[in-house]
């Protein structure tokens, strides 16, 4: 059975290789090939899953050792896979959502002449992501980690001729690199501490290790997670990442890649358990981010950016949960899965809307679209209800559990975290309602108004060939083709029922327990209270949004807004800070260093040469051509010679 594990990675990898190397002749079938291989990977996953269910909980984890990768004395890195329940969960999520989004992209990217390459990149991403979650040691995980980074870089910058896209891609990669630094340092620490970096030994030996070391490792892992999962302070890249095609945003920047950080932390649970300080840091990061993202989400008028903000905040929830330790791990993963479904659905919905609106992204130029694209409206709506945690839908169960666990953390910490989580839930309800209202309700603000033409940055040039001449004069909203709607529907189903399915009889908890271990914290509030509170804040948030956007017409041009709004629009000034401190400072540093290199380092050498030359020029003057002066020098010379000789005898 474990022989199949490699296939999971191999299939999409093969696809990537073929699609990227195979020339134009693949242009016509490329996308289907890619989708097929993604589906194949999913099939394998299902097979493995059923097999796993067949075994009993304890010996479900599979191992496959492919080959010895880097052997240098004590440093032994293998290419080996470990498939346990945790990995399985991710594999299923990744392959299923991935396949759906491949399908979606077939329609979405229909008119892009570089579609083959797009699918190549998607496959590459799948392979890397699967490698990430299947690796049985941190170094191999690191490979996948950077691999998904590369894929995301390529896909964000897929429309490279848009400077904004290229910049966003570069930014994403760089910020991630900062996180990667953390991961690699963590691995080095593990090597020096444990002499290995394979999950088994490291996590096994975590208990009998000094807390200091573990805290260091933990913090480094957290840094990595922040980078990949767009957590404060490394969150700035996610918003810009929306420059990429919408399917990419759905798959990579909502459902899967950005959750890798959560996977890392949960995977390294033993380390964090033994390092409370690191755990605290994790929870703080999570809490801060979930507010940060939510606030940003409220202010954005760009539908994708708004969703991106919400992604940040949702992952904040997961990180928070992961930081809570054994009481939270399971719920973190659970929320991760449900979020995977509904957020992917939301993004696809957004994509579908843009598709119908000539790639207009400004929600203020939408409105009343429900009757033009019903399917989109329904699926999006369900996703919306799921994310705000409408009772009975996925988000409700998973998020509720997290809030509960936050309170269960106990003490002042518990209270703070819990209330933050609640507040976040309220804001979530607010901004999602806002998105919903702006997009599908209210009067049709797009009438008699030209929309963004692909020439101007920000428009998705997939539309270039669409609409035809004058097509940008006024959008004609229409439902998207089946290849796009089907995935949306399926995801909607997932986002409605997944949560309930998991929670009934704590299926999910039992499923993951062997890996992550679970214990019920004692919450100061009863579960019922918490649930009630969540529902209350939910209602508050929704009504607030309705008062603001539902009742009176929405101005097409965004009002100046309060200070907070303006800050939020600029991602709470994060970028400005980066720009001033890092970019500017870096520029000055490099410029001055170039100067130093030229004048100082090089100057010293040239200076020496010059001074020798000058000396030479001066000594030359002694050779003045007068025989008598030569004679003088000889005479003086002999005098010195004699004097020296006598002196030598004297001393």
């Amino acid at each position: 059975m474990e022989k199949l594990i490699a296939l999971l990675v191999a299939a999409p990898l093969l696809g990537a290789a073929v699609l990227l190397c195979g020339g134009r002749l693949l242009d016509r079938v490329g996308h289907w090939l890619g989708t097929l291989l993604a589906a194949a990977s999913f099939a394998v996953a299902v097979v493995l899953f059923t097999d796993m269910l067949g075994k009993d909980a304890e010996d479900r984890s599979l191992h496959q050792h492919l080959f010895r990768w880097i052997p240098v004395e004590g440093f032994q890195a293998d290419v080996a896979f470990q498939l346990d329940q945790l990995s399985m969960t991710f594999v299923l999520l990744i392959t299923s959502v991935g396949t759906l989004i491949h399908l979606y992209s077939v329609g979405y990217m229909e008119h892009d002449e570089r579609r083959r390459r797009f699918f190549g990149y998607l496959n590459l991403f799948l392979a890397a992501m699967l490698l990430l979650v299947l690796a049985d040691n941190y170094l191999l995980l690191y490979v996948g980690w950077e691999g998904v980074g590369l894929a995301s870089y390529l896909l964000i910058g897929f429309w490279q001729h848009k400077p904004s896209a290229a910049t966003a891609a570069k930014k994403a990669f760089l910020v991630n690199r900062v996180g990667d630094m953390g991961l690699s340092i963590a691995i080095m620490l593990m090597f020096t501490t444990f002499g290995t970096f394979a999950f088994g030994p490291v996590l096994g030996a975590a208990e009998e290790t000094g807390e200091g070391k573990l805290t260091a490792i933990g913090l480094m892992l957290l840094l990595a997670a922040c980078g990949k999962s767009a957590q404060v302070p490394l969150q700035s890249w996610l918003g810009d990442a929306m420059e990429g095609p919408t399917p990419v945003s759905a798959l990579i920047h909502a459902a899967t890649m950005v959750t890798a950080g959560v996977y890392l932390i949960v995977r390294s649970g033993e380390i964090f358990n033994a390092a409370p300080d690191a755990q605290l840091a994790v929870t703080v990061v999570g809490a801060v981010t979930l507010l940060f993202g939510a606030i940003v989400g409220c202010a954005k008028d760009d539908i994708k950016k708004a969703l991106a903000g919400s992604t940040m905040s949702q992952i904040g929830y997961m990180i928070l949960a992961a930081g809570l330790g054994p009481i939270g791990y399971v719920f973190a993963i659970m929320h991760l899965v449900t979020h995977g479904f509904f957020k992917a659905g939301l993004f696809l919905g957004a994509g579908s809307v843009m598709h119908g609106m000539n790639d207009e992204v400004d929600m203020r130029k939408y409105g009343g679209l429900r009757k033009y694209m019903p399917v989109t409206f329904v699926t999006f709506g369900l996703g919306y209800l799921a994310i705000i945690g409408f009772p009975g839908l996925s988000g409700f169960f998973s998020k509720d559990k997290i809030i509960e666990a936050a309170f269960a953390k106990g003490g002042a910490e518990g209270w703070i975290l819990g209330s933050v989580a609640l507040l976040g839930a309220a804001i979530t309800a607010y901004y999602m309602t806002r998105v919903m209202l702006l997009t599908f309700f209210g009067e049709e603000r797009w009438r008699h108004r030209a929309t963004a033409s692909p020439e101007e940055p920000g428009a998705e040039p997939a539309a270039e060939t669409r609409g035809g001449p004058g097509g940008h004069a006024e959008p004609h909203p229409h439902e998207s083709p089946a290849s796009m709607t089907i995935p949306m529907v399926l995801l909607a189903v997932g986002s409605v029922f997944a949560g309930g399915f998991f929670s009934i009889g704590d299926r999910f908890v039992h499923w993951l327990e062997p890996v992550t271990h679970h214990d019920h914290g004692d919450s100061p509030l009863s579960a019922a209270t918490v649930t009630g509170a969540t529902v209350v804040v939910l209602v508050v948030g929704v009504t607030l949004a309705w008062f603001q956007y539902g009742r009176r017409p929405v101005p097409v041009v965004a009002p100046r807004g309060s200070l907070l709004t303006r800050a939020a629009r600029r991602d709470l000034l994060q970028d400005d800070f980066n720009h001033v401190v890092l970019v500017r400072g870096g520029e000055h540093l490099t410029r001055s260093l170039v100067y130093v290199d030229h004048t100082l380092v090089d100057g010293v050498v040239n200076g020496t040469a010059a001074s020798v030359g000058g000396l030479s020029g001066r000594l030359r003057k002694l050779q003045n051509g007068y025989a008598r002066s030569y004679a003088v020098s000889m005479f003086g010379g002999v005098a010195v010679l004699i004097a020296a000789t006598l002196l030598m005898r004297a001393v």
């Binding site: 080959f67 010895r68 990768w69 880097i70 052997p71 240098v72 004395e73 004590g74 440093f75 170094l139 690191y142 490979v143 950077e146 691999g147 590369l150 870089y153 910058g157 490279q160 001729h161 400077p163 896209a165 290229a166 891609a169 570069k170 990669f173 760089l174 690199r177 900062v178 990667d180 630094m181 690699s184 340092i185 691995i187 080095m188 090597f191 020096t192 501490t193 444990f194 002499g195 290995t196 088994g200 030994p201 490291v202 096994g204 030996a205 009998e208 290790t209 000094g210 870096g586 540093l589 490099t590 410029r591 260093l593 170039v594 290199d597 380092v601 090089d602 010293v604 050498v605 040469a609």
Partner: protein, 523 residues
Amino acid sequence: MSFPLLTATAVVPAVGAIATAAVPAARRTAAKWLALLFSLATLALAVAVLVRFDPDGDRYQLTESHSWIADFGVRYELGVDGIAVSLIALTALLLPFIILAGWHDADPLETTSSRWRPTQGFFALILAVEAMVILSFEATDVFLFYIFFEAMLIPMYFLIGGFGDRAHAGSDENATAQRSYAAVKFLLYNLAGGLIMLAAVIGLYVVAGNFSLQEIAQARADGSLDMATNTERLLFLGFFFAFAVKAPLWPLHTWLPNAMGEATAPIAVLITAVVDKVGTFAMLRFCLQLFPEASKWATPAIVVLALISIIYGALLAVGQRDIKRLVAYASISHFGFIVLGIFAMTSQGQSGATLYMVNHGLSTAALMLVAGFLISRRGSRLIADYGGVQKVAPVLAGTFLVGGLATLSLPGLAPFVSEFLVLVGAFARYPVAGVVATLGIVLAALYTLVLYQRTMTGPVKPELAKMPDLRVRELAVVAPLIALLIGLGVYPKPVADLVNPAVEHTMSDVQKKDPEPEVEAAK
């Protein structure tokens, strides 16, 4: 007396050089093919060496030893260990690509007279360099090594100064001046280093009485030859200085950007991927073996210099406006990594450093050669003159990106393996150094991606609209390199197995052990 394989690997290119130089002026193409042929023959011999070499056998294999200059106690002594073998393989491997890439770099301008035969000279000099480099990898006699270490400067010097980058070439006086400035700078820096080393070599002879690396190392090991601490340190510094100039270590690096900037791309590759490796290789083979104590004494200072090189080189690379100078500074940063690995005195560090030499050769070759193709199309080295290339020449852009990703050592590509080994090795001995060096990977990403973004992405510059994509010859150069980068990234074990035993010998020379992990993890 078996067939002298090692001598053959050096003789073949040398003969090739002479033969190429002898080709009459009119038959330029013939000269090119001849050179290519000989470089391929050398590659074949190198492969033979690779096959004949047994990693777990004696330390030095395929040895040859003949008396040469008895008066100076100099013997013609050749022998290779795993490190040397891998570097010889690298050299022999890169040369055909360099020749192929430089196919048209030396076609004479119309103005020059018929007696001036640049093309023949160009390829002959390249082969001459190859011969000398290979010999300096093989020599186990200090004097013999020194001879070729120095002599290779001369052909290099003519290659740099005589065949400038077409981006500025022609009769432009200013360009000529810059070029000869670069060439002279290269020569004087290295010559100065070499002469200081000469003093040390003589000193070594005075102390040891002969030049045989093995004998001296042996004598050092069993204590029959003990140097006064200060003597050893002075000699070490003499040797190290020369090597630090050759493998540019801050602050002796400034010749490299000029040289690489002014030389044609293939020659730039020859400099940084092949010739400079002799410096780092010699640190590993001579400094550590001959002067173990002094090496340990100097380690902290050298580690600091290496760190400065890493960060400094990367930052300057970010600040460059000239594509080739950017790559040059990137190389300086990478050489910092190599030196760091060598002087971390851990087996990971040193194996990593050796792998790094090989991988850096491949990655820089890929990046630099593609950059050369790009420059040859537009006729400018300034980054600002490019933009949107990927739209008109996607393959070129793609290969360039892969080269760049290799340079920032992306996992899955060969450089990652070596870089990570170096980092781990350094971290195990000097955690702070390891962390500082890790900053380098962020900066590497910065300068690589900025370069890619500015040249390849964005709207297409009108001048570039008609730019052709990679031609078959160029693809034939780049594709194998990329294949190797990926192959060695996924499965570096063969090279590692080749190198590890040699590194173990070196470690035992300096009597260093890898630091033990604190917790013995449950295996």
